[in-house]
Subunit: 709 residues, 2 copies
């Protein structure tokens, strides 16, 4: 058990002394309290005791004079390294004491320190930092200068589980070093993982431990020992972020996203005004709830009775869309609060993004006071298609589907809308988060988690206000529904000034990368990836195993598709079992190649594609198919597309459902074929071998993270 | 000067002895001959001589007994390390000889070896391998187990220049280690580069040196010394690849690509036959030269007089397109040879790709005998649009432009055709290379180099038959015209069994990566990259400097565009000079942000885009612009597009020409705007922040490689 009281006493002493870090002996005591191995040591006051102590810890040992009067121990002949036996320890004791006395006759000699000499094994670093967004993080990397140069380090939220810790050992580029290289023994993975877990537990139990470095830790076949400990403390009280209970978040978010009644504050009859666009979108979008235009003078707007204030509205209102100048927002928001409206959609700009932080703080305060959630300010609004709700000034969006998207930036939001429309991507929601004064990504996750209309969640963000809350929610939600995140600002900043080694290694983006993965989130590398994954992942069935097979008419596509599999972490079924290989060969010309890719060769008729794909779907050892189509006169694009859909439908009728993606190489007719395939459950791309494979890779990444594989 | 005779003598001795490697002393002598520093050594036969020798090489030194009768030198007390002075050297000599005599009374003592003790500095590895495609390659990496695990090594064609060698020092991930880390001194870069150059020269001068390892080399501030040398030799004679003189290649390729007369062997009136499709494409494509259908019986095909054999045709024929079964090809090819036709376009399959290697070898032999160049077999043919020539059975392609494309695979060729048509990409040529029995990528490079209709060359390949020839030609051509290569099979194979350390590190793809870069080639990572670069690079003007500025209406796009700049090696002008910053600020709202990205904020009218872009083009400190457009009612997509083209035209009239790319975020109308911008010289993409920046990055990579920046 961890001795928390012991750590508490040490920290209290440091706090009382006004110190910002612990001393090395204090650090060792803290490690001891948490079962983190440090070199054993003891102080002997006789040669016999030195022998006994040394024997107790095992050889070799280092022995050092302990005297307040001797500063330069080595110069005084007060250090002996590499003591290898009990007899040597005894004689070393005598030699050290004699030398010390000779060096300084009147030196007060307290004894001789005997310390375990750690050697061999692999030097690693284990540390912890406190991140502004994610809180306590534990870090792991190899030790040494080279690793510092290569920044080969990995992070997890603290406290980390044993599985987290083990995944860290495999999560560095140089992971092979821990498995034994050139005849060296593999390290004790369990011991090292335990040490990582303990460090993560320690900093979680004591938030005042701001940074911690165990550097180096000697990891070997017989354990992991921290040779040096450095602990930075910070006793300044932290103000925890305000965060409503999850159940309350869901209650509010449901009212906001699925309102029975919407007020438009600043509704207008005048074309070109935001309040006019919002009214049009609500009405033309087909929203069936009540719509209340709010306007200081008008009696009616677009056929709906208008009110001076939300307070004048007779019934309940769930959502208020703001389309008024910034300076009028606070006043109207108070009225919304008094009316017990669940959420304010703050389209207006002119707040934090223009430097008006006070104005935004005022809104947050009002929201908090009246328990009204704020979306924005500085947003385009949101769409929730299951309710035909377009609470936005942008054009209406009407292709219903199961993907929920959000963006921090309005521009990216517009790109999401455009792509969705162009690609006929069905969406359940598109939400603008803008300045994120209140509602943020994790609030959306909580709503979409319980929303049966949403099967996948795709979010663009530039920062996470509360990365820890996001990670915690995402970890749970991603087990049920894929969560895809495009984190912008990947390559900016870098670590802020930090006083520890680990802190200096905590480059902003690597932390996001690791924590998002730890949370089961699929990280998109680019805007197009986000959009392609958002479109393709929900329509792909979940694979039941790792064996992927490529079936291609074009050998050239097969090679590129294989490259893409490696790039996207997909495992090709290799070698192909002989009976399966023979079964494929029955369908393809003698000069075709089975193996994997299955190269059916160009110029084959549709039946060859159908036979091989049917076999691929039927065989239980195959879990996913990647198709490489080659446009020929014998098998035109739409013939191929229809035949593939036919085979897949036929299999579905038999209860066989596997993910299939397709890469189409051919003249422009392949674009129509790709669209047809996509519409029928096969993510397909013209002129690309990499995108369909990346989409399948995203689905696999999700399934692995959710523990389904 | 390098002492080649000395090396020749050592190699001759090894060859005579039938050895496959050199001994360590031989290896040292070879190094000596090429001025590659190895630890100095000498044999002393007296204490005084030992002092003298040691002083001559500098301390510390290692001293070892030299005696044929003493095998275990250390056991005999015959080794002293770390000798630090002349006096110590003398006494060490006496001690070693005395010990040796005591150890074995009758031992014959030849003296004491004095060897320079190399220490400190950075351990690196320098090596050389013989690659099947690229021939001699020189390799460089850091030494040690970790580097072996991380495979942090870089290659160049040998012989390497000083610049090549210096680029290798910067070409490893851990490059920082050579520049001094944590207070260590930087290594002597010139000395290390010299050593690399000498190794590369050595293996180039002596092809029988198959593999070479200098491992480790100690690189420090005072030089680079190879502590261990290993040389593998192979005296089996190599058969050089047949390769016509470059001038002859160009003469043939010009006749083939720009023929005055084309014969279609197997021309047909029957729809669906390849020989019919080829005829149609030639005629309907608008080819103005003479067309001779060859058919055993027909008198006329599609309005052209037919002949039984090319030999019956009265005039000269430049190009013969084959559309007959594989088994008839050889016979017809002989007739083409007798007719002195320059090139045979071998569409038929049924050769090496189906295992018929003999059939293909027969064609090669005929081609060689008659000096007729072979394209294919197993191809779709080729297009050369400046001559309106569609010598293929695929659909006609008619969008003239300046991009020449080729593919090894027919499927990828079809994707190229489809994408080109869909994207309205102007091309000068599309060529299928198929089995590459004769004509390959470097032949095409030689033709396109001198072809004024071609400005950029984009090639898909799975292997390079003769990587060295390709690299040599590409290095020259890429100085004039961008060469873009998609090398498939990136992630396959790995290194073949190799007996040296360097050989084991020579992962196939890393070699391609390094050599293509050394040759000035832009390597596309994916099929879409190849196509996007092929389309965008030729229309972008060449930048005159490295300073890139982002001007964006959407802050969110600005962040993603900045990420993409880092990913693509582009340098943002930062910090923005104060006067320039002030100049930008004049045009943007007070809450907008100058700096870089210049964030003009959303909702700005067209004039703000125009003013800022005009300023960006006019200021001489800015060399390229990336535009981030945000679709709003105030500035609709086509208004933005037309205004941008207007500003750029206006600037062009003033002689200001800079590369500009655009990322368009918005509803589907941005697709039309992107097309308009592209058609007017601005590569623009809807819903993507990364692709336009990647295209600009490709242009920059080319310009740097060509020495234009």
């Amino acid at each position: 058990m961890n001795d928390k009281q012991k750590v508490r006493r040490i920290l209290d002493a440091a706090k009382a002394a006004g110190r910002a870090s612990l001393t090395a002996p204090e650090g060792k005591l803290v490690c001891d309290a948490y079962g983190i191995a440090v070199p054993k040591e003891g102080v002997a006051t006789s040669a016999a005791e030195a022998s006994r102590i040394a024997e107790g810890m095992g050889f070799p040992v280092v022995m050092k004079i302990v005297s307040p009067d001797i500063l330069h121990k080595t110069e005084a002949g007060g250090v002996v390294v590499g003591v290898k036996s009990a007899a040597d320890a005894a004689s070393a004791y005598d030699r050290i004491v004699a030398s010390a006395k000779a060096y300084k006759v009147d030196a007060q000699i307290l004894g001789v320190q005997v310390q375990q000499m750690i050697q061999g094994g692999q030097e690693v670093i284990v540390g912890a930092v406190t991140d502004g967004s994610f809180g306590k993080l534990v870090a792991f990397g190899l030790g040494g200068v080279l690793v510092e140069v290569l920044k080969d380090v990995t992070f997890r939220l603290a406290p980390a589980t044993r599985d987290d810790a083990l995944s860290m050992l495999d999560g560095i580029h140089a992971a092979q070093m821990l498995k034994g290289v050139r005849g060296s023994e593999p390290v004790d993975r369990e011991a090292l993982a335990r040490l990582i877990v303990q460090v993560s537990q320690l900093v979680s139990d004591f938030p005042e431990i701001a940074e911690l470095d165990l550097n180096p830790v000697f990891a070997s076949a017989s354990g992991a020992v921290a040779a040096d400990v450095r602990i930075v403390v910070d006793f300044a009280p932290k103000v925890p972020r305000y965060r409503p209970a999850e159940a309350d978040v869901v209650v509010s978010m449901k009212r906001i996203m699925q309102p029975k009644a919407v007020a438009v504050i600043g509704a207008s009859d005048e074309t070109g005004k935001i309040g006019n666009s919002v009214m049009k979108n609500l009405i033309n979008g087909g929203y069936k709830g009540r719509i209340y235009p709010i306007h200081p003078k008008a009696a009616e707007i677009m056929g709906h009775k208008a009110y001076k204030s939300v307070k004048d509205v007779p019934g309940e209102i769930d959502t208020a869309v703001f389309a008024i100048p910034a300076k009028l927002v606070a006043g109207a928001l108070v009225e919304c609060g008094e009316k017990k409206i669940a959420g304010a959609i703050l389209i207006p700009s002119g707040f934090a993004e223009t430097g008006n932080h006070e104005g935004q703080a005022e809104l947050v305060e009002i929201g908090r006071k009246y328990n009204i959630r704020l979306m924005g300010p500085n947003i385009y609004g949101f769409y929730y298609t299951p309710a035909n709700l377009c609470a936005t000034f942008c054009t209406a969006y009407d292709v219903q589907g199961s993907t929920a998207l959000s963006s921090q930036s309005g521009g990216i939001g517009m790109a999401i809308i455009g792509y969705s429309r162009s690609a006929k991507m069905g969406v359940s929601a598109i939400v603008g988060l803008g300045n994120k004064s209140d509602i943020d990504e994790d609030d959306l996750l909580l709503f979409f988690e319980q929303d049966d209309n949403t099967k996948v969640i795709a979010q663009h963000c530039e920062d996470l206000k509360d990365g820890r809350a996001f990670a915690e929610v995402a970890k749970r939600v991603s087990k049920k529904k894929p969560v895809i995140v495009l984190k912008a600002g990947r390559t900016s900043a870098g670590a802020a000034a930090a006083s520890s080694h680990t802190g200096a290694l905590a480059g902003n983006d690597k932390v996001y990368d690791d924590v998002l993965r730890q949370s089961g989130v699929i990280r998109a590398k680019s805007l197009r990836d986000l959009l392609d994954f958002a479109r393709g992942v929900p329509i792909l069935p979940t694979p039941k195993g790792e064996n992927v097979v490529i079936i291609t008419g074009a050998g050239g596509s097969g090679v590129l598709l294989s490259d893409a599999c490696v790039d996207n972490g997909l495992k090709l079924l290799k070698p192909m079992p002989p009976d399966l290989d023979a079964a494929f060969r029955k369908f393809i010309p003698p000069f075709g190649a089975a193996g994997n890719p299955v190269d059916i060769t160009g110029g084959e008729p549709p039946i060859t594609y159908m036979n091989t794909v049917r076999l691929g779907l039927e065989d239980e050892r195959i879990h996913a198919l990647i198709l490489g189509y080659w446009h020929t006169i014998v098998t035109p694009p739409m013939v191929f597309a229809r035949n593939m859909v036919q085979v897949i439908d036929e299999m579905r009728a038999k209860g066989i459902v596997k993910p299939v993606v397709a890469s189409l190489a051919g003249d422009v007719e392949v674009e129509e074929a790709a669209e047809y395939l996509y519409a029928h459950g096969i993510p397909a791309y013209a002129y690309s071998t990499e995108i369909p494979v990346a989409v399948l890779g995203a689905k696999y990444q999700w399934a692995r993270g959710a523990g389904l594989l």
